[in-house]
């Protein structure tokens, strides 16, 4: 599911160049700011997202000398920094999931391309999903959302968070078990008519 990094100049090359020519780091911003904004906005909403994207890049810039050049792709590194910063906003994030549980439809930002049927089934389970997300321990939620919303692979999540891949697997397993346990009654009751 994870798309490979864009062809052309590798991130590793850009970061190395920025050591002598700091403004080259802006290329990394142009490439990934939009992607990070989308991910962060999903978790804490648009107000906090803008500043968090900026902080992520400022921290990345300050630590650019420590980038592991064994990997060409900077996305896991940036997501890792963003994840740490997001942990300071856990109250905002929790409030967001609570809001979905209270008023599942008002919070919806309609997405242009969703099929009608998808919308219906997804809407029916919104509160259950939000409930599962608020119940999950932060470390499990980080892994789950980096994969589902950040489109990272298991290996990339491991690199991102600096944990062994086995730990990513076990956290993901736990998180999905919680997710399914919250979904089950809903799926049986609500989503059945649209499932073929």
């Amino acid at each position: 599911m994870t798309a490979p990094p864009a062809a052309g100049v590798s991130d590793s090359h850009r970061i190395r160049e920025s050591l002598t020519r700091p403004e080259a780091f802006a290329e990394l911003f142009d490439e990934y700011a939009a992607m990070l904004y989308r991910y962060i906005s999903k978790r804490v909403g648009p107000e906090a997202a803008e500043d968090l994207v900026g902080e992520t890049f400022l921290i990345a810039f300050a630590r650019r000398a420590q980038f592991d050049h064994g990997y060409g792709d900077a996305r896991p590194w940036l997501f890792g920094i963003a994840t740490k910063l997001l942990s300071r906003h856990h109250r905002t994030e929790a409030a967001r999931y609570r809001a979905i549980q209270r008023a599942p439809h008002e919070v919806a930002v309609p997405s242009p391309a969703d099929l009608v049927a998808d919308q219906v089934s997804a809407e029916a389970v919104r509160p259950a999903l939000a409930r599962a997300l608020s119940k999950l321990p932060r470390r499990d939620r980080d892994v789950l959302l980096l994969i589902a919303w950040g489109d990272l692979s298991y290996e990339e999540v491991a690199r991102s968070l600096g944990i062994p891949i086995g730990t990513v697997r076990s956290r993901m397993h736990r998180a999905r078990r919680t997710l399914r346990s919250m979904l089950e009654p809903d799926v049986r009751k609500e989503a059945q008519p649209w499932t073929i």
Binding site: A6, R38, S41, L58, R75, A122, R126
Partner: protein, 376 residues
């Protein structure tokens, strides 16, 4: 349904598109890179080139406009259902230049009627037509809007609020008037187009040829295709330019895809131009999705833009600063805007600055964005 798939869909509905104001964070990074502390705004104009890069990366507005405008206007003719704003004191015209307001909408995107603008762009063609200037107007700009008569004849009273509210309340004529009043630049013509116009163009041309470097599996935009050569229909092509996850998920990638698509589309349009039956079908297919006061003037915009190398098109965002009391809202940055727009204005330069009324408690009742949590 799969639990992860459901979670991804929830993610899609919670996601927000990067706002134009994200450029401020890039500036923060550049300031840090230059060893500066704090925020400096003075060098705004000098950083125009950098801003252009961000506009290209974040604002698909321009590309979308060109995608639709170019093939549409290669065949002039169509309905002229919009009239220029009447009455009031309009800014004076700068001789020789042509200023056109482009508004993009995506009626399929939401339930709000009329659908809000997805992009507002002021296109300035100088007298020699050599270096067009594309000025993106941030959608969350908080401005005072003059009284205005909409297309249907209803009069909206003067008020203060998001610029997009001028559009949702009074359509193109009211937005036209609002943008003139903020920028004090005379706008000669306006064009409103929706994404469906693009679909109509592609279908009328019998599809567009695209080579996919790898398979696409994106049922959320109705696009599931193997790698290789394809002739996409309108629906597929629309999905292809809307697609976000492909190619690392960056908007820069989306812009690249759009550019490839434009080239292919323009090539196809040139092939097809000689067949009268298809031409008629094309004009008919587009007509309902495009509103303008003058197709002739827009042919000129389209050809001017299409003939130029992208590097000769300067694209910037209207200078803005954070609203002093309204979190998330922006207000025009008068001094920088005056510096930037002075060459575009006609007549005597001595007229007073426009009044931007800032109320502590804005009266606007139209809610544009739904904010799930209380502002910080």
């Amino acid at each position: 349904m799969d639990d992860l798939k459901l979670l991804r869909e929830l993610g899609h509905t919670l996601e927000h598109e990067p706002p134009a104001s994200l450029v401020r964070q890039r500036r923060r990074l550049l300031d840090a890179a230059a060893g500066k502390s704090g925020k400096s705004r003075g060098a705004w104009l000098k950083r125009r080139a950098g801003l252009w890069a961000v506009a290209a990366a974040l604002g698909t507005a321009v590309v979308t406009a060109v995608v639709t405008v170019v093939p549409t206007l290669m065949f002039s003719g169509g309905s002229t259902s919009v009239s220029a704003p009447l009455g009031g004191d309009r800014p004076e015209k700068a001789p020789g230049a042509l200023n056109v307001l482009l508004v993009g909408t995506d009626p399929g995107a939401g339930t709000q009627k009329p659908s809000p603008a997805e992009s507002i762009t002021l296109v300035h063609l100088p007298e020699n037509r050599e270096k067009p200037l594309l000025i993106s107007v941030p959608l969350d700009l908080h401005v005072s809007q003059p009284e205005c008569r909409s297309g249907s004849g209803a009069v909206s009273p003067p008020r203060t609020g998001m610029i997009n509210a001028a559009f949702t309340a009074g359509g193109l004529p009211c937005l036209w008037r609002a943008v003139e009043s903020i920028t004090r630049v005379r706008i000669d013509h306006a064009l409103e187009l929706d994404y469906s116009a693009f679909r109509g163009v592609v279908d009328a041309l019998g599809g567009v040829d695209i080579t996919l470097p790898r398979a696409i599996d994106a049922p959320q935009v109705k696009l599931v295709l193997p790698a290789g050569e394809h002739r996409m229909n309108g629906e597929q092509a629309l999905g292809y330019i809307r697609l976000r996850q492909e190619g690392g998920g960056s908007d820069a990638e989306r812009v690249k895809r759009q550019q490839v698509l434009i080239r292919s589309l323009v090539a196809r349009a040139k092939e097809r131009i000689l067949r009268p039956a298809q031409l008629t079908a094309l004009v008919e297919g587009i007509r309902e999705h495009v509103k303008t006061d003058s197709f002739d003037a827009l042919v000129e915009v389209a050809t001017s833009l299409a003939d130029l190398e992208p590097k000769n098109i300067v694209s910037i965002t209207l200078p803005w600063e954070p609203h002093p009391s309204e979190p998330g809202a922006l207000i025009p940055s008068i001094k920088q805007m005056d510096e930037l727009l002075a060459p575009l204005r006609g007549g005597r330069p001595a007229s007073p600055l426009p009044t931007i009324t800032i109320t502590r408690k804005p009266q606007a009742t139209t809610t544009i964005t739904v904010r799930p949590e209380a502002p910080r």
